[in-house]
Structure formats: C-alpha cells, structure tokens
C-alpha cells in the first residue's frame, strides 16, 4: 500500500545553535532554508496561512550580527518557528482560522510570541488551525484543511493541526499551538511529534484569541522532547497582562530530562483503556508501558472514576465560555461586516451568520443555551461541579503516582472527511485529553509507536499542576525507547 507522505525531520534547537555558533550556517540561511522547505512541502500540507519572510529575515540578520560580534546568543537564536494563527503578532494578520477575521491585522503581540522573539526565535509565519481552535481535525478552518504529513489523505488532528504538521514536515523547528480540550496533544499524536500542555496559568494567554478562557493554554510543538522543554522554558512565566497567570518561578525544564524513570511511580487509569480504544493504539501504548516498567518504573493501576462525564462537562463549559468570548466578533469595530444589512440587528445577524463557520455557530448556540435562564443550574453549574470532581480524581491519583500514562487519542489519524458529518464522533476524538484540560493539570504527548499503516501513535503523560518537568522526564524516557527500536 502506498500512502503519499511528506515527513521530514527538522534540525534540533541544539543543531541550529551549533551551526550558528560554529559559523557553518547563518541564521538568515537557516530561515531561507525553512522557507524553501515550506515552498516545497506546504502546497500539499497547507500548514501555513501567512508568511512574513521580510520580517523573519530581518530577525535572522540581527542574530547573525550578534553571532558575528561573538555576543552571547539567546536560547532560541535563529530557531525558525511558526505560530498558530490564534496568537496575535503586531502588524501581522490574525485570522483564528475564521472568515470573520479575514483581513484583520493585530496591533499588538501575544506575550508567548514576544518571549520567543526575545529569545531569538525567527517567526516564519502564522499557522492554520480549526476556526477559533474549535475542532479535532483541522477541517473547520475557513481557509481549508491541513493534511497529515504522514498520510496526506488523513487529518493532522486539531485544532492545532497546522502546528503539528509543520514540525512533522520539517517546516519549522518548533511551533506554538493552543490546547483547550486536546488541541496540542491530539495533533501531536496524529503527526508523530511532541506536544506539551502546560499547567493552566503557566504560559500567558495574553494575545491568545480566546475560545474557552478557563481551559485555553498555549504550548509548544517540537520534533523531540528536549526542544519542546527548551521552548516551554522560554514561553512560561508570569505575565502582568494575564490575571490568571501564575507567579511561580519557571524551572529549567531540561535539567531532569535524562534522569530516566527508574523508581518513578507511573499510574495507568483503567478508564482510558476501555471500549472505543483502537487495538493498534492499545498495543503500542501497552508495549511502551511495559518498556517503562522494564526501565525501572513502578506501574500502578489507578482509577479516575469521573472520566466518563468529562466529554459532556467539557462541552458545556467550553461552549458556554465560547459563546461570550465570540460575542465581540460583531462587525462593529473590526473584521468581517455583512454589506447587505440596513439595521443594527441585521448587521449583527448577517455578519455573524456569514462570518462564522458551522461548528463555531453550533458551539455558540450550545453555550448560549447552557447559560440561559432556567438552564444554567442544570448545565453550566452542574458542569462546574463535575469539573471539581474530575480534578479531585487527579489530585487523589497524584498523591500516589508521579505521572499518569494514557493513550493520547483513541485512534491514529483518521481520513479527511471521515467524521465531518458526525460532530459527536468528532468530539469523542478528545475523550482522553479533555480531562486534563478540565483539571488544569499538565501533560505531554510523545510518539510511542506506529500503526500497521505507518501512522504515528502518541502516549499521553499527565502530571500534577506545575510538574511539567516530571512529564517531560517521562516523555524523554519514552522517546529514548523509540530510538532503541
């Protein structure tokens, strides 16, 4: 069987650094090479929505000047990166994958992106995603779907499908994505790259076009665990512009990476290995768990009893918040405004009807309903109570284990168009990821094998609040095991 692929491993951050420091490559040459790769591969993949080569080459030249002077290079000096188009950058488009923001130019830069730039990263362009980060396949982008580099007829996952695909196709060393219910971890799993869900509050949300404010996180994608850890270290930290960001100091996420898993207690929740889990995914995950046991980890069966309520809970809370967050897209101040409206209410209705895609409208309606008088207690309030229970499940589990291992997604990447007519089956693609989103804890998806068709399979490693270093350490061990195969 032949499947068209476009996989290509990008340079690592360390390789970029070595080549710039040694003078074997200039940052501007690396940036130019990254654009060449994009021009060669992206017509098939469609990961990028907009490119900004002039700005990128200007940034690269500054790194080259610094290197020429022998000055100390910042941690991501010359590293070509892509940014999911829900994060704003001053002077660049910010579409959120939606027609309603077509032509909108952001007047300020998101804190996470600013931190990347200050660390010397070269911003190549803005990356495709599901409209307002709502989706699990990247098919909800108003600008067309992204194709999975491992199999071009398959989805890359969503909503940060473009960010995962860009790394998998060697079109960026690292990318930023966002995760509200699995939008970093699931595409990482589908595209065979590393994706990090930082603890809620660890990375500033300032400049992230909100989907669901209490769930949205910004996190990195990279081709390997170390690069993901380095990138996370750059973007993490308190931001006075985000009242929900944590003042905790940011540790060196690479410090413990190579400590291995010997002596660690790793929990395996029965609820994540039940009906609906693809046999090949189960086999790959279970095999990895056995390898970790062989490496000295203590594997403990655990229970997260409220898991089965996670999907409805998530969809009530996320859509409720979304219904308010997306109210600002009304055609009054920026973005798309319907031309044929003669009254204010017609302007609102027409602009939003034509500007939003069907999944966004579905979620706005669901969320509006959940918050309505007479339904609030039954839906939103109840969902908040269940959210508390789900969080307590994790807190109890983390009293006994250092990290929790689950499949990232129930299946490998599915085919484009396969689930577009069935929103519920699409929502179930997030079944293993929404729990950590609701609980606010951190996690990583790391490749742990492939299906018979050569499709990547991801292992999800969950850690307690602000224990990113622990999840990355386990992820590094899993990555090392893959290398041995």
């Amino acid at each position: 069987m032949t499947v068209e692929t476009a996989v290509s491993r990008p340079l690592s951050i360390a390789e970029v650094r070595r080549s710039i420091e040694s003078g074997s490559s200039k940052a501007s040459e690396l940036a130019a090479a990254a654009y060449e790769q994009i021009h060669a591969r992206d017509p098939q993949i469609h990961a990028y929505l907009s490119l900004n080569p002039e700005r990128a080459l200007e940034q690269a030249r500054r790194i080259d000047d610094l290197a020429a002077k022998g000055g100390p290079l910042p941690p991501l000096a010359g590293v070509p990166v892509g940014i999911k188009d829900v994060l704003t950058i001053e002077g660049l488009p910010a579409t959120a994958g939606s027609k309603i923001l077509e032509g909108y130019t952001a007047p300020y830069t998101a804190t996470s992106v600013r931190k990347l730039e200050e660390a010397g990263a070269i911003i190549l362009g803005k990356i495709n995603c599901d409209e307002f980060a709502m989706g699990s396949s990247n098919e909800n982008s108003a600008y067309g779907p992204v194709h999975n580099p491992h199999a071009l007829d398959r989805v890359p996952g969503g909503s940060s499908g473009g960010s995962a695909a860009a790394v998998a196709a060697g079109m960026a060393v690292a990318t930023l994505g966002t995760d509200t219910g699995g939008s970093i971890r699931q595409p990482a799993s589908f595209c065979g790259v590393v994706g990090v869900l930082p603890t809620y509050g660890r990375v500033s949300r300032y400049g992230l076009i909100a989907f669901a404010s209490s769930l949205d996180r910004v996190g990195p994608f990279a081709s390997n665990v170390r690069d993901a850890a380095i990138t996370l270290g750059v973007i993490a930290g308190h931001d006075p512009m985000d009242a929900t960001s944590s003042p905790r100091p940011v540790p060196d996420y690479t410090a413990d990476l190579d400590k291995g898993v010997a002596g660690l207690k790793l929990g395996v929740p029965a609820e994540y290995f039940a009906e609906g889990l693809d046999a090949e995914v189960r086999a790959a995950v279970e095999k990895t768990i056995e390898q970790l046991r062989a490496s000295g980890a203590e594997i403990k069966p655990i229970s997260l009893p409220h898991t089965r309520y996670a999907i409805p809970t998530y969809y009530v809370i996320a859509t409720a918040e979304a219904s308010a967050n997306l109210a600002r897209f009304d055609g009054v101040r920026y973005g798309f405004r319907a031309k044929d409206a003669n009254t204010l209410s017609a302007m609102y209705r027409r602009s939003r009807d034509l500007g939003f895609g069907p999944e966004v409208k579905r979620r706005i309606m669901l969320g509006t309903y959940a918050l309505s008088a007479g339904y609030y207690d039954a839906y939103y309030k109840k969902a908040q109570q269940v959210r508390r229970l789900l969080t307590d499940d994790f807190l109890k589990a983390f009293a006994e284990v250092d990290a929790i291992l689950t499949p990232t997604a129930p299946t490998p990447a599915f085919k484009l168009g396969e689930k577009t007519d069935d929103p519920v089956s699409m929502y179930l693609a997030d079944i293993y990821t929404v729990t950590a989103s609701l609980a606010g804890i951190c996690g990583v998806s790391v490749p742990c094998g492939k299906s018979g068709e050569g499709l990547p399979i991801g292992l999800q490693i969950l850690g307690k609040h602000f224990h990113e270093a622990m999840t990355l350490r386990v992820a590094q061990a899993v990555e090392s095991l893959q290398g041995e195969q």
């Binding site: 829900v86 994060l87 704003t88 002077g91 910010a94 959120a96 923001l101 909108y104 130019t105 952001a106 007047p107 300020y108 998101a110 949300r205 300032y206 400049g207 992230l208 076009i209 909100a210 669901a212 404010s213 209490s214 006075p240 512009m241 985000d242 009242a243 929900t244 409720a320 918040e321 219904s323 308010a324 997306l326 109210a327 600002r328 897209f329 009304d330 009054v332 101040r333 920026y334 405004r337 409206a341 003669n342 009254t343 204010l344 209410s345 017609a346 302007m347 609102y348 509006t368 918050l371 309505s372 008088a373 609030y376 939103y380």
Partner: protein, 515 residues
C-alpha cells in the same frame, strides 16, 4: 495601530434616542390630590457612580472625561481579540471605601461575572460586572424626613465597567448612521442598589443627596451628574396605602439631574395611579425620562425579555480582599458628613444650617476647620462665616466655593477683630470691598489699611462730647442701667467714623461713665 472608527448602519429601536421614540400613551392629566392620597409609592434607586481612579478598571488607559473620541483606548478596553482584563487595585480600594462609608458588609471574596448583551458601545459583547457574589451588601443611609430620620437600606454595591457611548447626533450622516466613542469603555463603576424603602420623591431626593455627599467625602467619585459620573435609574410602583403587596414596577431610566429626580418620580407615580384608577394595569417595563417634556416614555424594547446569561468571568480570579488592602481602606476613611456636622455644631457653636453649608464638600469643611483652628478664636471664624460671608454669597447667588474670601482670609479677619484692630463697621466695609474687587480679605486689608484712633486722649475727647450731648442716658447709666454703655460706645464709634479702637473705646467709656 488601532481600528478605524466605522459608522454603523441605521439604528434600530434599541438605539433610538428619546426624541425619536413614538408616543406610546397620552399625556397624563393631573390626578386629584384626594385620589393621590389613597396611594403610596414604593421606590428603589439604582445608582451608577464612576470612580476617580487615574486609570480604567481593567487596563492602563487614562480614566478621563472629555478627550477626543477613541483616544483613551487600548486592546483591552477595545475588546480586541486576545486581550485580557487585569483588575485595577485602586478601583477595588475605592469601591471598598464607598462600601464601608455606606455601612455595607464587604465580602472577603467576591466574584466578577460576565453580563452578556450585544450593543455597539460594548466592545466585548459582555460587561464585566458582579452578580451573585457582589463586593458588598446590607448597607444603609439615613435621610431626614418630615417624620424624623429614616434609614434607607442598600441591598448591594458591586463593581463593574462602564460601556462606551453611541453618538446618534452631530454628524453629517447622523440621519442614517450611528458613531461609537469608546473612551468611556472600561471606566470603573460602582452600582449601588437601594432597598425599595423609599416612599416619596422627597425621600428619593434626600437619599441621592446623602449618597452623593458621602461619596464626595470619601473622594472616590466627583459625582458629576452632568458629565455622567453619577447616574440614576428608579424602580417605581404604587399600591393602596396599607396594602402589603408591591404593585407592578416600572424602571425609570435617565434621571440624570438632581433637579429632575422629584419631577420624574412625581410624574411616574401619577401616571401609574391614573392607570390603576381608570381600571388599567401597570406594565412592567423600562421608561425613559425626558426632561425637556417633563414625562417618561416607554422604551418599548425587548429589554424585559433580556437574559443576560451571567456567569463567572474566567479571565479574572475571585477578588479576595487582603488584610493589607482593608487596612489601607480604613486609613483612607474620612469623618463622614453627618458625624462631622454634629461635631462642628458642638465645637464651633454654629447652626445646623451653617454646618450644612460648611460641609457641602469635604475640601470646604477642611478649609474651614484648618482656618478656624489656626485662628485665635475659632468660634469667631464660624461667626464671621455666618454673619458676614453667607449673606453676601446669597445676595450674589454664589456658592461657598466661589467666594472671593477664602477661609484663610476669614481667619485673618477674625484675628484682627479678636485683637480689637478692626471695628465691626470696618470689618463689614472690608468684606464689601473684597466682594466688589474679587480679592481675598488680606489683600483688601493691606490696600485699605483702615485708620484706627488709638490715642486715649482723642477718644476721651469724643466720649466727653457724647456724654455732654446725652445727659438723659448718662442719668440712666448712673441709675444702674449699665447696658446703656453700649449706646455710648456706638455713638462714639459713629463720631469716629468707625475708626476708634474698639477695645480702648469700651474701656474708656466705662471709665468715664463710672468716673
């Protein structure tokens, strides 16, 4: 780079200004007093007050009235994609101060909520407000009524952000377009909701007056109704006297002047009584007060059906009042107007009326008290305010703040009088001069330097003259009627054209008459 102002299409009914609203009922005829007397009104007031913080509630923009449209704005208050609110601690401090001054119980932990509705001057599509866990509850204000002091309950005081302004008039294409100015967007507000304890328009007026006075004293707002920093909506219903149940209420919006609060409420109460008397039913609705026409109009909007879908604001953590902040607030708490008046009446022996005048603002009361305390005889300062200043201000229709003579100037005059360096006639003349030239008292005094006769021989000569001319009065005095001395003092003062040193004159008159 900020988004360009974009005109909006023709406003629908919700956007219409009062003048454009079609009449929804005939003008109310006057209801006979005996009918009115059968009914009792039940009134609750909702007052929005802008806080005088330097910056807005959730961003760093200047909180300033009167800037060119859409200049005091940033991504946060414009509600641009990706922007997040961060709470201004000063606004919390001010709101807490107001809560305590209004005798409210302040929550240690209150919750911000989103109030969702679409409107062009509300850029996020929701207003950040507080809902089921407001900053403060269970307060009260005492107001004077004909039956004595009455306590009006305050249900709640919560924090929220102001919206922008829709401009329906003044543009060439205003007939078909509405413009939006977002400068006011994000201005910190407190909303103070009273219990339905108010029974008459007079009580409502008194409540608002006391509320404004207290807030002015705390300094959290300038309470300027013309500039919209204090805005009032009134919930009004009527019922037969003695009835237990409340009638159906109407909300009267836009009562934005102290001058109109009574008129608006009187109108609305009569309107409702007339409806009931003619067998109709009051409709629960929002009505807009039109000051030009002196009546309220139904807004006839779908407002009643509005579901604001409140839910906790996920971008802001719960507002926890720290012990440190509470300490700060307690330190900021001034002596409040009622307490201050009581003390001033006792301390300076002034009238209730003058105490009221002198506490019109905190700064005035401060000026008075610091001047009085620096003077040789504080009561004399109070006396001069009462006897010389207020009458002249009244004659010229001036407020105390507009007086040419400052409190310091009055203290200066009081000291001169106290030392006997000015006769009361000279004092009056200098007050008149100051009001004519607009100068303060010391400047006028320096210029006019009234002559004083301090030579005992010269004064004695004039006393002799007066004694010689008034033998009858001398007889009375010597017959034991000592108060006649004042007559001689007055006559000599007159003879000296008010220039005799009063202390010396008094002394010499007694000496001469006794001698």
């Amino acid at each position: 780079m900020l988004p360009q102002a974009r005109p909006l299409p023709n406003p629908d009914s919700r956007l219409s200004s009062a003048a454009k609203i079609k009449l929804s009922m005939a003008t109310t005829a006057s209801v006979p007093p005996e009918i009115l007397a059968k009914y009792e009104a039940v009134i609750g007031l909702e007052v929005h007050v802008q806080l005088l913080t330097a910056t807005k509630a959730f961003c760093g923009c200047a909180n300033q009235f009167g800037a060119p449209p859409n200049t005091n704005v940033c991504p946060v208050c414009l509600g641009l994609p990706g922007a997040l609110p961060v709470l201004n601690e000063k606004a919390v401090e001010y709101a807490t101060l107001a809560s305590l001054a209004l005798n409210c119980q302040v929550r240690d932990r209150s919750i911000f909520a989103r109030k969702n509705y679409f409107y062009p001057d509300l850029p996020k599509g929701y207003q950040i407000s507080q809902y089921d866990k407001p900053l403060a509850e269970h307060g009260w204000i005492e107001v004077p009524t004909p039956a004595g002091t009455k306590r009006i309950g305050i249900t709640r005081l919560h924090m929220e952000e102001d919206a922008g302004k829709s401009l329906h008039d003044g543009f060439p294409d205003s007939a078909t377009r509405t413009y939006v100015d977002l400068n006011r967007c994000g201005t910190p507000l407190i909303e103070i909701v009273s219990e339905p304890d108010i029974r008459t328009p007079d009580e409502a007026y008194e409540y608002l007056t006391r509320l404004k006075e207290i807030l002015l004293f705390t300094g959290v707002s300038d309470c300027n109704m013309e500039e919209g920093s204090l805005r009032c909506d009134a919930n009004v219903s009527v019922r037969l006297r003695g009835a237990e149940k409340f009638g159906t209420k109407a909300e009267v919006k836009n009562v934005n002047s102290f001058r109109f609060i009574r008129a608006a409420l009187e109108y609305e109460i009569e309107r409702q009584i007339e409806i009931i008397e003619s067998g109709g039913r009051v409709v629960q609705e929002s009505r807009l007060w039109n000051a030009n026409e002196g009546r309220t109009y139904s807004m006839r909007s779908k407002e009643q059906a509005h579901d604001y879908r409140y839910f906790p604001e996920p971008d802001l953590p719960p507002l926890v009042l720290t012990a440190r902040l509470k300490e700060e607030v307690v330190k900021l708490m001034p002596e409040l107007p009622e307490a201050r008046r009581k003390r001033m009446i006792a301390e300076y022996e002034i009238t209730e009326q003058d105490a009221q005048t002198l506490t019109a603002t905190r700064s005035l009361a401060d000026q008075f008290e610091s001047a009085a305390r620096a003077a040789k005889n504080p009561k004399r300062v109070a006396n001069l305010v009462q006897s010389e200043l207020t009458s002249r201000l009244k004659a010229r229709c001036l407020e105390l703040e507009q007086s040419p003579i400052t409190m310091k100037g009055i203290a200066f005059a009081a000291d001169l009088a106290e030392e006997g360096k000015l006769s009361s006639k000279q004092l009056k003349q200098l007050f008149d001069s100051a009001f004519e030239s607009g100068e303060d008292f010391p400047a006028v005094y320096e210029r006019e330097k009234p002559q004083q006769i301090t030579d005992p021989a010269a004064i004695e000569k004039m006393i002799d003259e007066v004694i010689a001319a008034n033998p009858k009065q001398v007889e009375q005095y010597r017959g034991g009627k000592k108060t006649v001395a004042a007559f001689f003092v007055g006559q000599v003062m007159k003879l000296s054209k008010g220039q005799a040193n009063p202390a010396l004159l008094n002394e010499l008159v007694t000496k001469k008459l006794d001698g």
